[in-house]
Symmetry: C2
């Protein structure tokens, strides 16, 4: 593909079903995690052994636990507690552990904060396409966020999955009874929302989180896919598709 | 309904799809929780204030957290830690918290222990009916248990849900493209596997966990449904259905 002007990028014709990632595509998420990590570091500051970085240690704990815990805030909270024990050589106080539990609970109860323009864009998309939300994380928490989002009436289906890989997308596309070439996934993660979708013969659009420019993007994997700035841009892009 | 001899109970004709609960219907689960609670009490014994019962306190914590955490072992582990802080007035040691974390991780990694006769019964059921597993709990953990069960090839679908209510069953029956009167749910919980299923006009069979007798059962809600002793009995019961 050539050209970096979004007007150059032509949407594929006949998209019937649009798949929408949720966290950081429909609503803010990463920013909550960043806030939580800052609080985590603060809670642990008095307990962290000289030269240890609690946030880096927690990243390592999360990676180690990912296969067992999967994605989501309950696993994140368990990892924070594990890291707290580790960086403090198990000296961390009960009060600090209680603060970490409370932090996890606050994250679970956090209101859903839609990205700008999402409410209108989703409504307009739903008038033209069947929509399926495809998201990773804790089952009950993601269901609650979808319910709190005020968008649920626009979704044909909500798929909460443990991993966004080719098998997952193949199964969802089959369940939506749509041909892969008439399915387009949209999300902020190249690894989860774009590459496995292209691999099963469907379309994908990358909308980076907190980035507003738009251009054609060729990543390290050599895959070419459109990069847009918002769901609103996606809407105009899909509307501009031939026939 | 009359008669307590299972031979009296006639299965409805034309069941196409059988829904199977998983925990304590296909494999042992409650027994793992019972073991975990005993260990929990042991770990907390030195830290529990006079007159407090850590297991009863944890039941209360779990109930309080259910709406936020949903079902599953990650939430159970977080609740154990919360209870440990509570019954010890936050004096509990880091070593004890680490033991609770390790206990939760062991539960998540536990092998799947099928109930007697289940492997053969599921294979035989799958030869006659489409099967859908319907289970509550942590998404990734339930998926892993289904994968470890060795039964996955027999299942048309696996539905991991946050709540087993009428809306859930209605959606799954619709997704299976079967009429409610040709759907029969099977499980060990009257509240989750039987009553909401009957309420949507489908059939349900109660197979109590660790109980081997079979009879017709009328519960407090006035609902009448068959109670069988095993999946093997279910198989013979379905096979005995008229035409």
């Amino acid at each position: 593909m050539s050209g970096s002007d979004p007007a150059d990028a032509v949407a594929p014709a006949g998209i019937e079903v649009v798949g929408l990632d949720a966290d950081d595509t429909l609503w803010h998420n990463e920013s909550y995690f960043a806030d939580a990590q800052a609080l985590f570091a603060e809670i642990l500051a008095p307990w962290t052994a000289e030269g240890r970085d609690p946030v880096a240690a927690n990243d390592a704990t999360e990676r180690r636990n990912l296969e067992l815990f999967g994605y989501g805030i309950k696993g994140f909270t368990l990892s924070m507690i594990e890291t707290a024990l580790e960086v403090s050589d198990r000296r961390v106080s009960g009060d600090a552990i209680a603060e970490l539990l409370a932090l996890g609970k606050r994250m679970l109860a956090e209101p859903v904060d839609l990205l700008p323009g999402v409410a209108d864009a989703v409504e307009a998309l739903a008038a033209r396409h069947r929509l399926v939300v495809i998201t990773k994380g804790d089952l009950i928490h993601q269901e609650q966020k979808v319910a709190r989002s005020g968008l649920v009436e626009h979704f044909d289906r909500v798929e909460i999955v443990s991993e966004k890989d080719e098998a997952t997308y193949r199964a969802i596309i089959e369940r939506m009874e749509v041909a892969p070439e008439r399915f387009c996934m949209v999300g902020n993660s190249v690894r989860s929302d774009v590459l496995p979708v292209l691999a099963v013969g469907a379309h994908a659009v990358h909308i980076p989180y907190a980035i507003t420019w738009a251009h054609e993007h060729v990543d390290d994997h050599g895959a070419a896919f459109p990069v847009l700035g918002s769901l609103d841009e996606l809407l105009r892009w899909l509307d501009g598709a031939p026939g």
